[in-house]
């Protein structure tokens, strides 16, 4: 195998990894706020693509506006979903919230099917269907958008977490809900904000990928699972770890195809995931959590 091909595999891994990373970030945000896994995260990815297609093809909006509309509407759906389905469960029972999100994901994909039909929908590439050559290996220009948007999202999240009072409140809440409440932070508001942000991130991923893959009402679960695996692999609750987890997972899949077999690529990624969890249950980059008695 030549160097150019190896680079091609790495670029493909990076591209898929960036997608997984965006979805994983959504898992991590909701986990930090509630301690629960939001299994509707994949549906936010689906909605981002579907609503953008609807705004573009259905409403006839220009592509950038349609994309913004798609992401914004999905963020609203995320907030409404939290308000109507998660918030009423006041005791914050984790298992109950997880089941609620599973139900929510079914509602969202069924609703999308009824509204937009069962068939896949296409969206044009953001800036042409061309490619760029990197030392002989090629990357679609759309993939540069995916990588760029992921980077931008990570930077924005970093800024939010470290430079704004809302971000500090979110971090405080993640560390200790009750203590945060004592200093005047409303944890319920933080949970809503987390769902809105998670939905927006998922939608951004769905929007960026749709020009390459098309989208349909049923694309959510498979991407959701990959994003979940990436979040676990990196370490739940930490945005940087989620991104790293996504990239590692994408690379693993790509290199499994290169050196072993495409038949088993998902199984190989899963085995590595399990191995990592045995070795470091908190994920590769997760801080070890010590229970203080």
């Amino acid at each position: 195998m030549g160097g150019v091909e190896l680079l091609q595999f790495a670029l493909a891994g990076l591209k898929n990894g960036a997608i997984y990373a965006l979805v994983a970030l959504g898992f991590t945000l909701v986990y930090a706020a509630t301690g629960a896994i939001n299994f509707a995260q994949g549906e936010f990815y689906m909605l981002g693509g579907m609503l953008s297609v609807w705004a573009y093809a259905g409403l006839g909006l220009p592509l950038p506006v349609a994309g913004l509309v798609g992401v914004a509407l999905t963020a609203v759906v995320g907030g409404v979903f939290e308000f109507l389905a998660v918030r009423p469960r006041k005791d914050g029972d984790l298992l109950a919230i997880i089941i609620i999100t599973v139900g929510g994901s079914m509602v969202l994909s069924s609703a999308a099917r009824h509204l937009f039909g069962p068939l896949e929908k296409a969206l044009p590439a953001f800036s042409g269907t061309g490619t760029v050559s990197i030392f002989g290996a090629v990357l679609e220009i759309q993939s540069l958008w995916i990588l760029g948007l992921t980077t931008l999202a990570v930077l924005a999240l970093w800024y939010l977490y470290n430079r704004t009072s809302l971000g500090r409140a979110m971090r405080a809440c993640a560390v200790n809900r009750d203590a945060a409440r004592l200093v005047g932070i409303d944890p319920r508001k933080i949970v809503t904000v987390s769902f809105v942000l998670a939905a927006a991130l998922g939608a951004l991923a769905g929007l960026a990928v749709t020009p390459l893959t098309q989208t349909a009402f049923d694309v959510g679960p498979s991407v959701g699972i990959k994003g979940f695996a990436a979040a676990i692999l990196g370490g739940l609750g930490n945005p940087i770890a989620a991104v790293a987890g996504g990239i590692v997972l994408g690379m693993l899949e790509s290199l499994s195809i290169a050196f072993i077999s495409s038949t088993y690529k998902d199984a190989i990624a899963l085995v590595v995931l399990l191995g990592v969890l045995f070795w470091r249950p908190q994920g590769i980059f997760g801080a070890s959590r010590r229970e203080k008695v």
């Binding site: 891994g13 009423p88 509602v107 069962p118 896949e120 050559s133 195809i257």
Partner: protein, 400 residues
């Protein structure tokens, strides 16, 4: 107090919404026409109206609705209206079994159309055989009729017919080193298995074989690996949305010299052509004559049958039928023709016998002749090679 009541109400509303939206709408009845007398003849249809195979199930449902309406307008079958009971299996094999069981035990159907997918069609057999009700499957996997059951018929061209037709064409084009990229389950697996079993007869060698899973977003690594082997062409077995992604990935890494791609009837979908865009130019695949009715031969009986169906379907649904609608057209008419030949009193087993006696029935997918050993009856005659040019499929013969 009022607040907790409010919360409870919200929760109630949310739960109701969840239940209402996720519980599939069972039995969307397709009423028989009121003008016809007598009790309706009930036919079941287990289709994938939701889930990953919805793109196959939905056109089938539409075709059956249009045709049942027409059959009943024309007086039904022997004076009785036809009623089709639709069940959605959500592309889930377990649900297709449950649906078949319900239709047989509780609804007393005389025949079942479906499922949409190969896996679903095979799974239903465990209810079909003991229930002694004939099944007309809409799935193209060879196993549906290769693993022979006296109760199971199949309307699409199975891969054992499609593959030799395709390989013959590849051979004529001088292709010797072939690569395969296939979906890991169902249609893709059946297609690549049949291909591998037959390539030797055509002097073709398989030099690379790669797989992908449903829902994968990027196939660049598989294509990079295939490209390193420098095949003459790639044969793709992908019926879903991933097919368009594969062609786009191929165009991206291929630059000025992308690999040549060939496909299968599962690619005869407008969404695929639209989704792949420029990357689909020059893509060649085998499918039935319905895509371009002129390939039946203008003025032939098949041409009249197909254009009549295309007109009715287009008028009702605002878009033309695809091959999956055609398979459903074949299924409902094969059953109805069998029913017409039966006396007033009959059992599902009699329906099976009459379906098996179908001979020279000119339909959309081809001319159907069943026998006790062949429950599909399609041949290479019923297929045409198409090429995608300027964003539309055209008969290859015409273009060359």
């Amino acid at each position: 107090m009022s607040r907790s009541l409010g919360t409870r109400m919200t929760r109630l509303i949310v739960s109701v919404c969840i239940v209402a939206l996720t519980v599939p709408t069972f039995l969307i009845g397709c009423d028989g026409d009121r003008d016809t007398d007598g009790e309706a003849v009930r036919i079941g249809a287990v289709l994938s109206l939701t889930g990953s195979l919805a793109g196959l199930g939905e056109p089938a449902r539409r075709a059956i609705e249009v045709e049942v309406e027409r059959i009943n307008d024309e007086g039904g079958v022997n004076g009785r209206p036809v009623e089709v009971l639709f069940e959605d299996d959500a592309s889930d094999e377990a649900r297709s079994v449950a649906a078949a069981s319900r239709l047989i035990d509780q609804e007393g159907v005389v025949a079942i159309i479906g499922g949409s997918g190969t896996g679903q069609s095979m799974a239903m057999r465990q209810e079909i055989e003991p229930g002694e009700v004939p099944q007309v499957a809409l799935a193209g996997g060879s196993v549906v009729t290769d693993e022979f059951s006296p109760w199971v018929f199949q309307t699409p061209w199975p891969n054992r017919v499609v593959v030799p037709f395709t390989l013959e064409h590849l051979q004529a084009e001088g292709i010797e080193r072939l690569a395969i990229i296939a979906e890991s389950g169902g249609y893709g697996k059946d297609g690549s298995d049949v291909t591998k079993a037959l390539v030797d007869d055509f002097g073709i060698e398989i030099i690379a074989e790669e797989q992908f899973n449903r829902g994968d977003t990027d196939m660049t690594p598989q294509l990079t690996k295939i490209r390193a082997e420098a095949p003459d062409a790639v044969l793709m077995w992908a019926a879903g949305a991933e097919a368009a992604t594969i062609l786009k990935n191929n165009a991206a890494i291929g630059g000025a010299s992308p690999m040549r791609f060939f496909g299968a009837p599962g690619n005869a979908r407008l969404e695929f052509v639209e989704g792949a865009g420029e990357a689909a130019e020059g893509f060649v695949f085998a499918a039935g004559h319905i895509l371009v009715p002129e390939t039946y031969g203008v003025g032939t009986e098949a041409y009249e049958v197909a254009t009549g169906f295309i007109d009715r379907y287009t008028e009702r649904w605002g878009e033309g039928p695809d091959i999956f609608a055609g398979h459903a057209y074949d299924a409902i008419h094969i059953i109805v023709e069998a029913l017409r030949r039966l006396p007033a009193e009959f059992t599902p087993a009699d329906v099976r016998d009459e379906i098996e006696a179908t001979s020279g029935f000119v339909s959309v997918g081809g001319t159907f002749t069943f026998s006790p050993t062949d429950h599909n009856g399609m041949t290479a005659e019923d297929l045409t090679m198409y090429i995608i040019e300027d964003g539309a499929w055209k008969p290859l013969e015409e273009v060359r």
